[in-house]
C-alpha cells in the first residue's frame, strides 16, 4: 500500500470549487488522464483513465459526500484497489484549498513502491493544475449536485429530489 497527497489553491470560493468537482462527466474536458466518466447514479461512477498506452477502466463508489467540505470514494475493482478523498477548505483570501489524498492497495503496489507513488503524485498534481485552470478560467461552476452521501447511500436534500420522480407503482 502507498498513499499520495497533493494540494492546490484555486481562486474561486469553496462553493464554486466544490460544485465543479461534482460535475464528474466533465472531467475529460480538462484532465488529460481521465478519458471518460459515466455517472451510473450519484454514488456510483465508472472511470476510464489512460496514461500513454496504458488504459484502465474501473468503477468507484462515493462513500461520503458533504457539500462544500469533502468527498471520499473507493474503487470497486479487485485489481486496482484504492481509496481517495478530496477536501475543500476556504483560504483567508476567499479562495479554496483543494486537497486530494489517494491510498492504493493493489498487488503491484508493493513491488513498485519506489517509483509509483512519485509518478501518481505527479499525475495528481498536474490534474489538479488542470482543474485550477479550468474553474478559474470559467470563473464559476458549470453545474452542481448538492446532495449528501453517507456510507455509500444518498441522503436526499429535499423530500422528492428530481431523480426520485419516476414511476413507482407496482410492476408485475
Amino acid at each position: 500500500m502507498y498513499s499520495v497527497e497533493e494540494t492546490i489553491e484555486v481562486a474561486v470560493p469553496v462553493r464554486a470549487a466544490y460544485n465543479q468537482w461534482t460535475q464528474f462527466k466533465s472531467f475529460p474536458r480538462f484532465m488529460t488522464v481521465v478519458k471518460k466518466v459515466e455517472q451510473i447514479r450519484p454514488a456510483l461512477l465508472s472511470w476510464t483513465l489512460a496514461v500513454g498506452p496504458l488504459r484502465r477502466e474501473f468503477q468507484a463508489e462515493i462513500v461520503e459526500q458533504e457539500p462544500d467540505s469533502h468527498l471520499t470514494w473507493q474503487s470497486l475493482e479487485r485489481h486496482f484497489v484504492h481509496r481517495g478523498e478530496v477536501s475543500f477548505r476556504p483560504t483567508a483570501t476567499g479562495g479554496t484549498t483543494v486537497t486530494v489524498r489517494i491510498e492504493v492497495d493493489s498487488p503491484g503496489a508493493t513491488a513498485l513502491r519506489g517509483g509509483l507513488p512519485k509518478l501518481v503524485g505527479r499525475v495528481v498534481q498536474r490534474e489538479l493544475g488542470h482543474f485550477k485552470a479550468y474553474i478559474e478560467g470559467l470563473g464559476a461552476e458549470s453545474g452542481a449536485w448538492r446532495g449528501t452521501i453517507r456510507g455509500g447511500r444518498v441522503r436526499p436534500e429535499e423530500p422528492r429530489p428530481h431523480r426520485s420522480r419516476v414511476a413507482h407503482w407496482p410492476v408485475g
Binding site: 454514488a43 456510483l44 429530489p161 431523480r163 426520485s164 419516476v166 407496482p170 410492476v171
Partner: protein
C-alpha cells in the same frame, strides 16, 4: 418459402443424466441449427448481428439488461434468444389457403409446437358465428367488426384488453389510452402471472415497483443469491453477469428445488475458456430447497443474523441505517425470533448447518444482492416471501448502496415497460389525472380486472369482448379447461399476433386474427421508418428497430392496428387524441408519454442516445415512495406447503427448448429429457415410496376444493434429483392442473409452483391429444 412440417411425428422418450453445465459450444450449435431450419443464412445473420446492439433489435426473448454500449459483444445474445428471434424471422408463411385446409376444431387438436411451426400469419382472418373456419377479411371490415362490437356493449367494462410483454412502450401506451378513452380499466397483462407478487411486495416495503440493481451492481457484489430461478434456460445472459461477478471475487448461493445446469457451471461461448476449458463454477453453495420453502429459509437466516447481533452487539446489523431509513424493525425482530427451527427445517428440507453456513457467508459480505424469479412469485405466500427477502436486505443495509439490492428477474422483454406505460388495472390517480390533463377526457377511476379476474368475469358472462395485444393467453393462463370455456363464452375474441397459437383456436362466437409486424421487421409509416422503445429488467429504456422485410405487405404494426381501431371505435365520442398522428409518427406518442410518465421527460431526445435512458430508482436516491416514507420491515406469518401422504407438490416449469408457451422441440437437453414433454420429474425416493417405477405411465390429478377434476393425461415418471415430496413438469401442458382460485395472497398471481397432485398409474399408454 420453407415448408412447415405437416404431421406430428411420434417421438420416443429417452432420458439421459442431467447436465452439470450450461451453454458452451452445444448452445451455439443448437441456436444456429434451429435458425437455419427456420430461415436463410442471410436473414439469420441480419437478425443475430443486430440483436441487442445500439440501433438494432431488442431481443424479445427476455428482459435481461444489455451491457453499456462500449462493452457489448459482437454476438450479444443467447441460444434461446437466437432461436426466438429466428422463430419470428422464419421464412414459413400461412395465409387463406392454410385456413381453408384446416378447420378451427382441427387446429384445436394440434400441439403448441406444431401450431408455432406453421409460420408467420400474413393476412387478417375472421371466424364468423356458427362457422368452424377462418376466412380472409379486409382490414377495413375487421376494424368495422371490432368497432361495432365495442360500440354495442352495454358498458365498456364488458371489454377486456390483454397485453403481453412483447408489446412496445408505444403500443402499450396506445392500448391503455384507448381502453381508458373507451371507459374501462380492464387491462390484464402477462405480468399478472409472473412477477405481480414482486411488484406488490417491493412497493409496500420499499416504495418501488421495480428492481433496484444495475449490471454494475451485480458485477461488484460480494454475495449473490439466485433464488427460484433458472438462468441457464430463462435468462442465459445473466450467466455472463454472474461470471463477471465471480471474476471480481463474488460468491453465489443458488436456491432451487432442482440442481439446474446453469446454476452449477457456465461455459461462456464468447470466450476461449468457455469453448475448450472447464468454464466457470456458478454456485459456490447450492441449497436444495423444497418448493415454497424460501420464506422459511429467509426467516431462518434473519433469525440467525439477529442472534449474531445479540452475541456481538453493533457488529452485525446496520444499526444507523435501520434507525434512519426504516420502520417496523422491533415488530419484525420480535416476530422472527418466534419462528421455530423445527418448522424452518421442515419447510425448507435443509439442515440447520446449511442455513448457518449461509449466515456466515452473509456476515463475510459487505455487498449482497438477491435475484429471484417465478420460483418465488408463484406461491400462495409469495408476497410475504419477497417481503422477508427485503427484511434480509435491510438488516445489513444491503439496499441503496453500490453492489447491493433487490433483483426480480423478469422474463418477457418489455413486461416492465408495459407497466410503466400504464398497463395496469389499478393505476394511481396521479397517472389518470395526467391523462386527463393531456387528452381532455375523464379516465375511469374504478379498478379494472387482472388476468385471473378477467377469466372469472368471462366465465360468468360479464365480458363480451376480448382483445389480446400479442401473447397466447389461453396457454399462459392457469386452469386451461376453465380458461378455454371462459374464452368461448365471449361474443368476440381477437388476437394481434405474429404466429399461430392455441389462443386462435379457442374462439368466441366471432374471432379475429390480426396479423402484425414482428420486432425484427422494418416498420414504415406515413412519416417514414419508425422505431419503438422497450424497458428491460434493470429500468433501461432504449430503442428497438427491425431490419427485415416484413413477412407480408398486408401486415400492420401493433400501433397501426390500435390507432385505427381507436379511431373507428371512438369516432364522435368527443376525445381529441391524435390517433392519426400517432400512427404516422411514433415520436408523437413519445412526446405525450414524456408529459405523463414520470422520469421519461424529453423522451424522444434522450432515448436515441447510445444505451438509451437509465431510469433512476428512488430507493437508490434515498427516497421510499410507500405509505410510511421509509423502508418497511414486516412481520410475515410462517407458511409451509405440505402435500398429504401419497401426494406431491408439483411445480410447472419451462424446458430448455421452449420460449414461454412455445416449445421448439420435445427436448430439454440440460435436464436430459429427449423426445417427449409429457414427463413428470420425481425424486427417486418418492418414486419408490409411491410404488411407481421409472418410465411408468401416469395421469397427474390436482387436488383442490372445488368441483371439476383437473387431470393431465399420459405422463411418464422420470426419476430426477428434485427435492423429496416435490415434483416438476412442463407448462403449458400442466396449466390444466393449476386451479384458477389458487392464487397468491394480495397479488392474485396463480400459484403454478405448488400444486398438490397425485400420480395415478394408467394401465396402458394413454392416447392423449398431442397438446
Amino acid at each position: 418459402m420453407k415448408k412447415a412440417p405437416g404431421d406430428e411425428p411420434n417421438e420416443a422418450l429417452t432420458v439421459t443424466p442431467p447436465k452439470k453445465w450450461a451453454a458452451g459450444v452445444p448452445a451455439v450449435a443448437h441456436a444456429l441449427g434451429y435458425s437455419l431450419e427456420e430461415t436463410s443464412v442471410r436473414r439469420t445473420g441480419e437478425t443475430l448481428l443486430t440483436m441487442n446492439q445500439v440501433g438494432g433489435i431488442d431481443c424479445p426473448g427476455c428482459a435481461w439488461a444489455d451491457p453499456s454500449p462500449g462493452n457489448r459483444h459482437r454476438n450479444e445474445y443467447c441460444e434461446n434468444g437466437a432461436k426466438h428471434i429466428n422463430d419470428e424471422a422464419t421464412s414459413r408463411r400461412i395465409g387463406a389457403d392454410f385456413f381453408r385446409e384446416h378447420t378451427v376444431s382441427e387446429l384445436g387438436r394440434r400441439s403448441d409446437k406444431w401450431l408455432n411451426q406453421q409460420g408467420r400469419l400474413t393476412e387478417p382472418m375472421v371466424k364468423r358465428p356458427g362457422s368452424d373456419s377462418y376466412q380472409p377479411i379486409s382490414w377495413h371490415d375487421a376494424f368495422d367488426l371490432l368497432a361495432s362490437e365495442l360500440r354495442s356493449l352495454d358498458s365498456p367494462d364488458e371489454a377486456v384488453f390483454y397485453t403481453s410483454g412483447r408489446a412496445s412502450n408505444e403500443a402499450a401506451f396506445a392500448l391503455q389510452l384507448f381502453a381508458r378513452a373507451l371507459g374501462t380499466n380492464n387491462l390484464p397483462d402477462c405480468s399478472n402471472m409472473c412477477h405481480e407478487s414482486s411488484g406488490f411486495a417491493l412497493h409496500e416495503t420499499l416504495g418501488t415497483g421495480k428492481g433496484t440493481v444495475s449490471l454494475d451492481d451485480l458485477h461488484h457484489a460480494d454475495l449473490i443469491f439466485v433464488v427460484g430461478q433458472n438462468p441457464g434456460t430463462n435468462h442465459p445472459r445473466q450467466l455472463s453477469a454472474l461470471e463477471e461477478a465471480k471474476r471480481n471475487g463474488a460468491r453465489i448461493i443458488a436456491v432451487n428445488p432442482l440442481p439446474e445446469a446453469g446454476l452449477l457451471r457456465f461455459k461462456n461461448p464468447q470466450k476461449p475458456s468457455g469453448v475448450i476449458g472447464k468454464g466457470t463454477q456458478i454456485a459456490d453453495r447450492f441449497l436444495h430447497i423444497r418448493n415454497g420453502g424460501d420464506l422459511a429459509l429467509f426467516q431462518g437466516i434473519n433469525r440467525l443474523l439477529l442472534e449474531a447481533e445479540d452475541a456481538r452487539p453493533g457488529e452485525v446489523l446496520a444499526r444507523d441505517f435501520i434507525e434512519s431509513d426504516t420502520k417496523g424493525f422491533e415488530e419484525f425482530a420480535e416476530h422472527v425470533r418466534t419462528i421455530g427451527w423445527d418448522d424452518i427445517l421442515a419447510a425448507t428440507g435443509l439442515a440447520r448447518e446449511e442455513i448457518e453456513q449461509v449466515r456466515d457467508e452473509v456476515l463475510g459480505s459487505r455487498r449482497v444482492i438477491v435475484c429471484w424469479a417465478m420460483g418465488i412469485t408463484q406461491h400462495k405466500h409469495a408476497v410475504p416471501t419477497i417481503r422477508e427477502i427485503v427484511n434480509f436486505l435491510l438488516l445489513r443495509g444491503n439496499i441503496g448502496r453500490a453492489g447491493t439490492g433487490a433483483c426480480p428477474v423478469r422474463g418477457h422483454s418489455n413486461v416492465q415497460g408495459d407497466r410503466t406505460m400504464g398497463i395496469w388495472e389499478q393505476m394511481p390517480d396521479d397517472f389518470l389525472d395526467a391523462l386527463q390533463t393531456e387528452f381532455g377526457f375523464d379516465p375511469p377511476r374504478a379498478h379494472g380486472l387482472d388476468s385471473v379476474n378477467s377469466i372469472r368475469a368471462m366465465r360468468e358472462g360479464r365480458i363480451k369482448f376480448f382483445l389480446a395485444l400479442a401473447g397466447n393467453f389461453v396457454r399462459a393462463a392457469p386452469d386451461s379447461a376453465i380458461t378455454e370455456d371462459a374464452m368461448r363464452n365471449c361474443r368476440l375474441t381477437a388476437h394481434i399476433s405474429t404466429k399461430l397459437n392455441r389462443s386462435h383456436t379457442v374462439c368466441g362466437e366471432t374471432a379475429l386474427i390480426l396479423p402484425t409486424l414482428g420486432r425484427t421487421e422494418v416498420d414504415i409509416q406515413a412519416d417514414g421508418e419508425q422505431f419503438v422503445t422497450v424497458e428491460n429488467s434493470m429500468s433501461e429504456v432504449h430503442t428497438s428497430q427491425g431490419r427485415l422485410q416484413p413477412a407480408s405487405p398486408l401486415l400492420l404494426s401493433e400501433i397501426s392496428i390500435l390507432c385505427r381501431l381507436a379511431r373507428r371505435t371512438l369516432d364522435g365520442r368527443g376525445t381529441d387524441i391524435p390517433w392519426e398522428q400517432f400512427e404516422a409518427d411514433y415520436g408523437a406518442i413519445r412526446d405525450h408519454i414524456s408529459r405523463i410518465v414520470p422520469g421519461l421527460h424529453d423522451f424522444n431526445r434522450r432515448v436515441t442516445r447510445p444505451g438509451g435512458i437509465q431510469l433512476p430508482n428512488a430507493v437508490n436516491e434515498g427516497v421510499y415512495h410507500n405509505d410510511v416514507g421509509k423502508a418497511l420491515f414486516t412481520a410475515n406469518d410462517f407458511a409451509m406447503l405440505r402435500a398429504p401422504e401419497g401426494y406431491l407438490l408439483l411445480q410447472t416449469l419451462r424446458s430448455h427448448d421452449q420460449w414461454n408457451t412455445v416449445p421448439y422441440t420435445s427436448n430439454d437437453r440440460y435436464r436430459g429429457i429427449h423426445g417427449s414433454r409429457r414427463v413428470v420429474l420425481v425424486n427417486p425416493e418418492d418414486v419408490a415410496a409411491l410404488g411407481l417405477s421409472e418410465g411408468q405411465h401416469v395421469d397427474l390429478v390436482s387436488v383442490w376444493g372445488d368441483d371439476p377434476e383437473r387431470r393431465a393425461e399420459g405422463f411418464r415418471v422420470v426419476s430426477y434429483p428434485t427435492t423429496r415430496g416435490c415434483a416438476a413438469a412442463y407448462y403449458p401442458e400442466t396449466n390444466v392442473l393449476v386451479p384458477l382460485d389458487s392464487v397468491a395472497d394480495k397479488s392474485n398471481q396463480p400459484t403454478s409452483k405448488a400444486i398438490v397432485v397425485r400420480l395415478e398409474p394408467v394401465a396402458s399408454p394413454a392416447t392423449a391429444s398431442p397438446r
